[in-house]
Structure formats: C-alpha cells, structure tokens
Symmetry: C4
Subunit: 259 residues, 4 copies
C-alpha cells in the first residue's frame, strides 16, 4: 500500500502517478490564481467568502499531500529537509500562520512560491538541466560579463551624480540616489519618464547616456554569443593531419583517417 502510494506521489511512470500529477498541476494553477485574484481589491471585497473557502480547500488538499509525502517517503526527515520538502511546507504554512496571527496580510504573498511546484510536476528542472551547455556558457560569460556590470554601475553612478549637479532638486533630481535611479532608467533604455531633464545641459548629458546605454548592450550580447558558440561548437583535432574537425566525427574530413 505505502509503496503504491509512493509510486503515485513521487513517480510518474504508473497510471496512478500520471493522474496524480495532472490533478496536482490543476490544484497548483488554481491555488496560484487564487493568490493573484485575491490581490485585486474589487474581487477580494465582493467575493471574500469565495476566496476564503477556495483558499482553505486548496490548503487542506496540499496539507494532505504534504502529510502523505512524509508518510510514504523512505526517509521522512530527508524529504522534509530537502528543497522540495521546504517548498511544499511553504505552500501551506502562510495560510495557517494567517489563522494564528492575522494582520500580516502581506505574508500571504509567500504562497506565490507554490508556482515553483509546477517545476517539479512538469519535470522542468530536468529539462533545464538538459540545456546545460547554455548554462555553462552563461556561467563562463557571466564571469566575463561582470566587467560589463562594473562598467554599467560606474556609468550609472557618474551620470547620476553629474545630473544631480546639473539639474538639481527643482527638476526632480532631488538627491544622488534618485539621480542614479534616473540614470539606470535611462541607460537601460527603459525610460519611464517620471524624472526627465529640463535644462539644455541636462538634455545633452541625458542624450549621451542614452547613446552609451544603447550601444553598450552589444558587449554582453557579443560575449555571450561567442561563449555559447564556443561551448556548442566542440571541435577536436585530427590525430593524423592536425586539422580541426567536429567533435562527433568518426572519420577525419580532411585526411579520411579513422579518429
């Protein structure tokens, strides 16, 4: 019995396991939708009861699932302390805590982490792992891209400080942190328009910042492209003629010798 339950809950090869996964997926989606919709003031006001019952239904289902998982796991403590055990706990804890200590309504936002459980059900983690090459490229290029980030931060602090002096508080550049915020908004080409240069000198410096920000994006893109190209291209040398050949070759395409 316990073994069958284990297969249904933790695995997905059996029919029961697949049904359990599909059922769970729907409950997770509904539970996240509840969190989303409950945050809309008009909805939460007029359908307070509906949300209350829906939330508790979902929480009780998740609680049963959590207890079942503990019950069927070969090493319950290992499961509880594992990453997914923690996420499962986080999915139900906020509702109970809200019952005991009401008033910390914002805490309920933690329930958004239920979304992470979709990753387990859909086996997305494995899927992500499969594209390891890209992560290797991302990792090795992030090391190099850090120079880019130092450059961006330096530009943003410099431009922000200059604009604080040039424009001043009366034009919205109240303080250096505020001006740096403006510089980030500008250099990344987001451009909200909540803070905007008013003086001629300010507009000129802002234009410079924009063109720098517009062109500098080439740097991480270039680094990452080259990195990913290198990671994926995987060339090796032929033992005989020393020419570079695709790493999956069985015969060298220059001299025809077996590799």
């Amino acid at each position: 019995m316990r073994k069958k339950l284990y297969e249904a809950i933790f695995e997905s090869n059996t029919r029961a396991g697949k049904l359990f996964d599909i059922f769970l997926l729907w409950i997770i989606i509904i539970s996240v939708l509840i969190v989303f919709l409950e945050s809309i003031p008009e909805l939460s006001l007029y359908h307070k009861k509906l949300f209350y019952y829906a939330e508790w239904s979902v929480t009780i289902l998740f609680t049963i699932e959590y207890l079942l998982r503990i019950y069927v796991a070969p090493k319950p403590w290992k499961y509880i302390k594992s990453f997914w055990g923690f996420i499962d706990f986080l999915s139900i804890a906020p509702t109970y805590i809200d019952l005991l200590f009401p008033g910390y309504h914002y805490l309920l936002v933690v329930r958004i982490f239920r979304l992470l459980r979709v990753f387990r059900v859909l086996k997305l983690v494995r899927y992500i792992k499969e594209s390891e090459i890209h992560f290797a490229a991302l990792k090795s290029s992030f090391h190099k891209i850090s120079v880019f980030f130092i450059a961006v931060i330096s530009i943003v602090i410099t431009m922000g400080t200059i604009m604080y002096v040039v424009e001043g508080g009366e034009n919205g550049f109240d303080s250096i942190p505020q001006s740096i915020y403006w510089a980030v908004v500008t250099v990344t080409t987001v451009g909200y328009g909540d803070i905007v240069p008013k003086t001629f000198a300010g507009k000129f410096i802002a234009s410079l910042s924009m063109i720098i920000g517009y062109a500098i994006i080439a740097v991480p893109t270039g680094i990452f492209t080259v990195e990913i190209s290198r990671a994926g291209s995987l060339l090796k040398k032929c033992d005989k003629c020393n020419s570079l050949i695709p790493s999956d070759s069985i015969f060298c395409n220059k001299c025809g010798s077996k590799v």
Copy 2:
C-alpha cells in the same frame, strides 16, 4: 473560356494574369485603407456615405472575384475549404453580416485579414519559404529559447510580487497581476511610466529588474545567432550516406568516403 479565366485569376504568367494581379493588389490596398480610415472617428462621421459606397464597391468586387474563383477552380470545394479560400470568404463575409445583423460594428475589424491576400498576390509565401534556413534556425532555437522564456516569466512574476508588497496599492501597484504587468513593462525595457515605483526600496528593486532585463536580452540573441550561423554555415550532404557534413570536407566524417 473557363481555362483562360483560371489562368488570369490563379496564375500570373500570362499578360491577363499580371493585369489581374495588379488590379487586385490595388483593390486590396484600397480596401484595407478604408478599414483604417473608417476607424478614425472624425473621418467616419463626416464621410459616412463615402465610406459606405467605397466599402460596398470593394465588397462587390471581391464577391465577384470569389464567385469567379469557385467557378473556374477545377475542384470548387477544395478551393473553398483551402486556406486562401477561407481568407477570401473572410474578406467579404463581415460586410454582409453587418447588413443582416447591424450593431456588431467591431466585427468589421475582421476585414483587416484582407491584408493577408497581399501575400498571395505578391507571392510572399514562396519568398518566406525560400528563407527556410532562418526558420529552421528560429525553430530549433525557439526550443532552446523556451528556457529563456521560462526565466523571463519567473523573473517577471517574482519581481511583480515583490513590488506589490513593497510599493502597495497607494503607489499604483494595486494587485499582483497589475504588478506583474509593471514588471513586464520594466524587464522588456518598454517603460511606459504609467506605473512607477515611489519608495526608495521600490526604486532599488526596479533598478535591479531593469539591469536584469537589459542584460538578459543577450541570451536569445546569442542562442539565435549561433543557431543561424550553424544552420547556414556550410553544411552539405554526403553523396554516399546522406548525412550532413561540413561543406569544406574532402572526406565524409561519417562513412569516410571521398566526397
């Protein structure tokens, strides 16, 4: 007679076919312009009659064309059920439906699909098919880019939820969906400025989102560039074993035969 009409309507090698195509192209452009201009309140109010007559002229011309196409097609039902047959029907149906059931004015927007007919006249579909390599690259990289989309969606949901807690309804972050909308606007560097962080903590988190969004664009660009480079670079088929090999090969690296 019917064969000649078929050549004129469905083909474009003959003089008549070319004339028919040019005539049709102009009617399509005029018909789309009518849809565009009619949607402008000032114009549709003062030139109601003009639009009425223009629309019906175009519709009647398209109806004649549609009936002719059915008449000359070797297998009329095959044409009617084909993609282009459906588009042709969609070009005339809304006007007639509006005559029978007035009041659903927005339905008329469907007439915008007339634009698709330009693709047939200009043989753009064939043109697009010719750049198959890019579509293959797009397809194979979209599979990989999906990891990027999962990342963007995760970032957007996380940042949106955090900002909902940090900024709250009084600063425009009314609900989680609204905050996620803000996060999409920010991470994609669109930056409307309709919702904007007001608190210090909010501005700091927003700055982080911007820099992430600014840098993360390197990922799909890098993947697609490498993919397109690989797809286009230089593969040819081995005469013996039909496997794809680098185009500068002298020996096939799969079967070892001389190319």
Copy 3:
C-alpha cells in the same frame, strides 16, 4: 592662379588646401549652429539682428566659395550637376529664397543640409567606403532582414487592430492607425506612455506584444552578425596578385595561380 585656387579649394595636399579646409569646416559648423540656435524661440526673439547678420555673413562666404568652385572647376557644368555641387547650392539657396519670398520660414530648415558638407571636408565618404565589408554585409543581410520587417509590420498591424477592439476609443485607442502607432511604440520597446492599456485584457495583450518585441530583436541581430562574420572571415590575400579571395581557395580566382 586658377590652378592654385583649384588646388586650395578642391584638394587638401598643399598648405593652402589644408588651411582652406580648416577654415571651411569652422564656417560650416558655425552655420549649422546658427540654424540650430535660431530655431530656439527665446534666442531668435532677443537676438534677431545678430542671427540676421551671422546668417548673411555665412551665406555670402558660401556664395563666394560656390562661385569660386564654378570658376576653377575644369568642367563647371559637371561640378554644378554633381552631388556636391547640388549640396553647395542647397547651402545658399534658402537664404536668398527667403529674401525674395518671405513667409515660408520653415523652408530655412533645408540649410541643415550644410552639415553634409562636413563629410566632404573630413573625407568621411572615403572613410565610409573603406568599411565596404560592413556595407556588403548590411546589404546582403537587409535582403534577409526584409522577412523580419514583414514579420514586425504584420505583428504591429495585428496587435494594433486587436487593441483597437479590446480597449476602444475611451482608453486612447481612437482608431486603427492610432492603435498601430501604439503597437510600434510598444513592440520596438520605446514605450512613450502617451497611449497605455487600461483594461485587464488590454494589459495582457500588451504584455505579449512587449515580450514578442523584446525577443524578436534577436532575429536581425543574429542574421547581421552571421553575415558580417561570413563577409569578413572567408577571405584571404593571394600571394601573387594581392587580391582578396575566399579563404578556402586552392587557386586564386583573379590570377589563377596556385595559393
């Protein structure tokens, strides 16, 4: 005398030619600054006379230069009808036309073309020609990028029309052209914020447009990168005749010698 003048005006190898170039460069910069500054209402109001005299000084200098160029050119008519002859004429014509037919003040904007003359003085055209490889890449990829432009235009028309139906005139989406303008602003990630979705459905569709626009930039970047890489990488110099030939050549395709 005339030959010396020709050398000074048309060439820049002699001392006189270099001095003439530097002098001309300054006059051009001043003349463009006049156009810029004159367009600022406060300045043009309070310094009307100053601008009047400055403009006429520059125009007279340019007129003298123009007449001298005609005088010293071996084939005056050829110069007058050449590209640079036309630009030189355009630099002085607006001021005289304004004298004869005042009231078309906006015509004076044509004087901005004086800026083009900087290209001649700085020999920028030759400089641009030197990076021929990039232009070849741009040209051959623009052909391919046209598919991308068709895609962008299709997305923009579709998204604009959908938003016109979903949001409607009361939210700023007055007409289809207006909505398409909004779609361009959004898909290109410019994001002015002058027209902004208000309804939930509108915000959802807008978010989709943003993510599409954010990701689709990878396409022209990828195509151009590969094109430029191919244009620059597959060439080498022939030992014999020094011409650029594909790097995998065994025989030079210019002089036929074995490489």
Copy 4:
C-alpha cells in the same frame, strides 16, 4: 618601522596589509554612503550634525592615510603625482575647501571619486586588465562602430529636423535642438514620453524612427560579436605546457619551446 608600514599600506600579502585593506574598504564605503545620503534633503536637514561629524571623521582618517602614504613611499613626489596619489588627494580636498570657502556646496560632489579607491583596494584594475582580449575587441570594433555612430547622429539630426517642421512648437517640438533630443530619446528606444508626436504625419515619422532605431542596434552588436570572436579565436594550446598562446606564435610565450 617605515618598511613595515609600507607593506601594510601599499601591499596586501601580509596580515597587517590585509587588515588595513579591509578597514580601508569599509571606510570608503561609509564615506561614499555619506555623500549619497547627505544629498537627500530630508536626511541632511534632520541629521545635519551627524553628517558633519561623520564626514570629518572620514576626512581625518583619509588625511592620516594620505600623509602616511607620503611618509612611507620611497619616492614621495612620485606617489603624489601618480594617478592614485591624485585620487587620494581628491578624496580629502573638497571637505577642506568647503571649510575655507563655504557656499560652493555642489563642489562636495567631487567626493564621489572616493569610489575609485575601491578599485585599488579590490585590485579591480588588474582584474580588468586580465580581460584584455575584450578591450582589444572593443577598441578595434569601436573604430568600426564609429561608422555606426555617424549613422546614428545623422539619423537623429535628420529625424529631429523633420519633426521640428512637421510638429512644430505647439506640440513640444520647440526648437531643432529640442527635436534632436526627442529623436535621441526615440531612436535609442528610451522613450520618456515627455515630448510626443501629436499629428498623424508626426506619428508616422516617429514610427519609422522607432523601427530604424530598433533594427540598427544589430550593427554594433554584430560588429562587436565578430570582433570578440576573432580576438578570442586566435589562441592555440602549446604542445609542451598546455597554456593558451596566440595562434600565430612560433615560440610559446610561457615556456619558450618551439611550437
């Protein structure tokens, strides 16, 4: 004694040197935070005294450090005239100048250069030097990218001038410089929304500018990617010592063996 102090201050191999570095790093961070926070009007008003004492504490510590550095340096004048000597002087000078000539409050912003000292403590300069390849690529591609900048500036001036004529002062396009500022904001896809086209023609031209700006980013990205790929691809492994060396080497630059 002096030698020990030298080791502690200028080097970081000894225990004393490491402790000194960590201590200095904290003081620098605090001193920059003071500059940031002092610029916030509410804070500087209510905590005037706190900032006063904090600033002087930091300045005195930096002064002691500066004098010590002069004292222990083998060639004091060489240190004073060096880049870091100048930065160290710039870190303390503004506070003393403000004491002597109060009223030039904005001068205090110069203290932001203290941030540069973080680079020395963290040895970031060496770190940046290590990624020399990227800088070489950036340098050689900036030469090529300059054509791109000329293109952007030409587009921006042309589009700005056209919009000045089309939209005019009543729609916010007051002058040509103002319109060029709008064009920079638009072409770089920043899009503040402070100046926005109102007329139909203006919106059409703006849409064109956006699409150009959106697509043209492919140019520097492509050039830089190819450049960086070329800079990185010219490395090969030494047969003897396995270190990466330029691919055109005849002798390994690490172990000196012939390749």
